[in-house]
Amino acid sequence: MKLRNLQVWLFGLLLLAAGQAGAVLEVTVTEGVTGAIPVAVTPFTWEGDGAPAEDVGRIVGANLARSGLFEVLGRERLADSPAGPDDFLSEQWAAIGAEYLVIGRLRPDGERVLIEFHVFDVLANQRLGGFRIPVPPEMLRRGAHRVSDIVYEQITGDRGAFSARIAYVGVTGRGDERRFTLEVADSDGANPRTLFRSAEPLMSPAWSPDGRYLVYVSFENRRSEVFRHNVETGARDRLASYPGINSAPAWSPDGRRLAMSLSRDGTPNIYIMDIDTGALTQVTRSNAIDTEPAWSADGETLYFTSDRAGSPQIYEMRLPGGTARRLTFEGSSAGAAQVSPDGKSLVYVRGGDGGLRIARLDLETRQGTLLTRGPLDKSPSFAPNGSMVLYSTTERGRGILGSVSRDGRVHQRLAARTGEVREPAWSPL
């Protein structure tokens, strides 16, 4: 296992230097894949004055390595970057063990910077593609994530998700000093930004399908209420403040409705709110706890947690309100289901002897697979390309984020430098 415990990226240091606010995350790959693909990423040459604001090649390399699918060769091992795509000599790169090569340059062009790069298949001795991405100079880092997405897709055939962002809840202090923050960061933990601060708990962040809004539960009025927050403008409004609990908001795929768990009639049931009109439709009618709704990819089925059979388990229900069918039977409990972007599987929290662990359920075969080892893994969230799952876990009693590849083979940790982080939510692309 070449990647195990070998590579540690301290994004935090970079960010501190840049004077960023927010809870900075440090990413560690704890366990990689035996068959990781060796890739060489040369430093992107800068054709302007001075030095570029970001080391784009390094960001791309770090992203690829973090996916767990690639072994990124150290720069000291690299041959000189070819001056252009026509100067590519495959033997040179095969000799150091690279199977793929990425080269690039940054060229100032008026108000913009052009990121030009090429991807080569070393073994096949051919160029897979050449690309140009124009970005404003202050958005070089975003550009680097976009480059990573394209390289990932060129090599694996699957869409990359490095351009997506992650939202999560940060917690610092204890007792009266306890503070809760809602944070949004790049997928690599860089550029964290605090969206909202509160002395009262924040929970359950969820993205709108267009990536413009987050909904979440805030206790700022000393009870649970659901708020909507515009990520760009910071404008926020309260969507649900019924008697009892207002919780577990989940946006429908069309972005027009919000499924929630409300106990306005005494027991928590699933409701759907039309966001424009505020009109509520009750979906479940049980005396048990019904909560944690998740929409199917086509928006026609809801998955939710219910303890109607004694212990919490995951159920599915066709909309507008058919019979609920139980989906989970393994382990002592199940909950917090999230649907994969292709709609074919769920990730969820499974309780059992090992504590709480993240598991995946194939919706066609009904086969379940454990992805993590526990003992306190919760709040799973799929990457928008379905390749990885972020979740909350603990390390020496402290709340951190973990990520695991869809097949359970690649594991990483994202820890805040101070305080705790939890409830990750991966944005749409």
């Binding site: 204890r174 708990p201 929970m203 359950s204 539960v217 206790f219 000393r222 009870r223 649970s224 009892g244 609990i245 919780s247 577990a248 768990s261 106990s263 005494g266 928590p268 706890i289 909560t291 944690e292 947690t305 303890d307 212990s311 919490p312 409990s333 909950g335 917090a336 929290v349 309780g351 504590g355 709480l356 003992p375 306190l376 919760k378 709040s379 603990t394 009693g397 409830e423």
Partner: protein
């Protein structure tokens, strides 16, 4: 001074009674004895009132106020207990907490203006939103018992924090047991 005044009044009253009794002239021995007993009782009552007034003065309370202590402040009272603990993933109130909840219900029943917040909490072993619901169910169990014992619905507010506000932070059975609780928080006393 006050004491002397009060004694004076009592003597005047007894004198008046005696004067009223005059016209019958032949006051029987039995009636005379009854009057003596009444006088002695009045004396004892006056003495007790005086003692209470002195004690109240010593505590800095005005004489025209309700003189007793708020039982919520009595550390020896059942009302000093404000925490109910629960078993894992359960919302049933264990019998050991019933007398305490009955005492709070009686207090609310006697003090209709008092308001109590029932804050439900869980441990971290469970999904977060499920725990939010479980915390509410625990607080509702407590409310039911208090309703049955005379507390009015308008006096009780049920709130759940789920697992979001732990008081113990280690991942041990002991810490989890301390976090599975309903806290009784008086918003308004009598």
């Amino acid at each position: 001074m006050n004491a002397m005044l009060r004694w004076g009044l009592i003597f005047v009253l007894i004198g008046l009674l005696a004067a009223c009794a005059q016209p019958t002239r032949d006051v029987s021995e039995a009636e005379r004895q009854a009057a003596e007993v009444a006088a002695a009782e009045a004396e004892a009552e006056a003495e007790a009132a005086e003692r209470a007034r002195r004690e109240a003065e010593a505590r800095g309370l005005g004489v025209d106020r309700d003189l007793s202590v708020d039982p919520l402040d009595d550390p020896d009272s059942l009302l000093a207990e404000r925490l109910v603990y629960f078993d894992f993933d359960r919302d049933a109130v264990r019998s050991e907490f019933i007398p305490m909840l009955e005492a709070h219900a009686r207090y609310l029943s006697r003090n209709p203006d008092a308001r109590l917040r029932l804050e439900g909490h869980t441990d971290e072993r469970g999904t977060r939103e499920y725990n939010l619901a479980l915390g509410e169910r625990r607080a509702q169990s407590v409310r039911r018992i208090m309703n049955l014992n005379g507390a009015r619905d308008t006096q009780l507010e049920v709130i759940s924090y789920g697992e979001e506000m732990p008081v113990a932070f280690t991942q041990t059975e002991e810490a989890w047991a301390r976090n599975r609780r309903v806290e009784l928080v008086y918003e308004v006393r009598r």
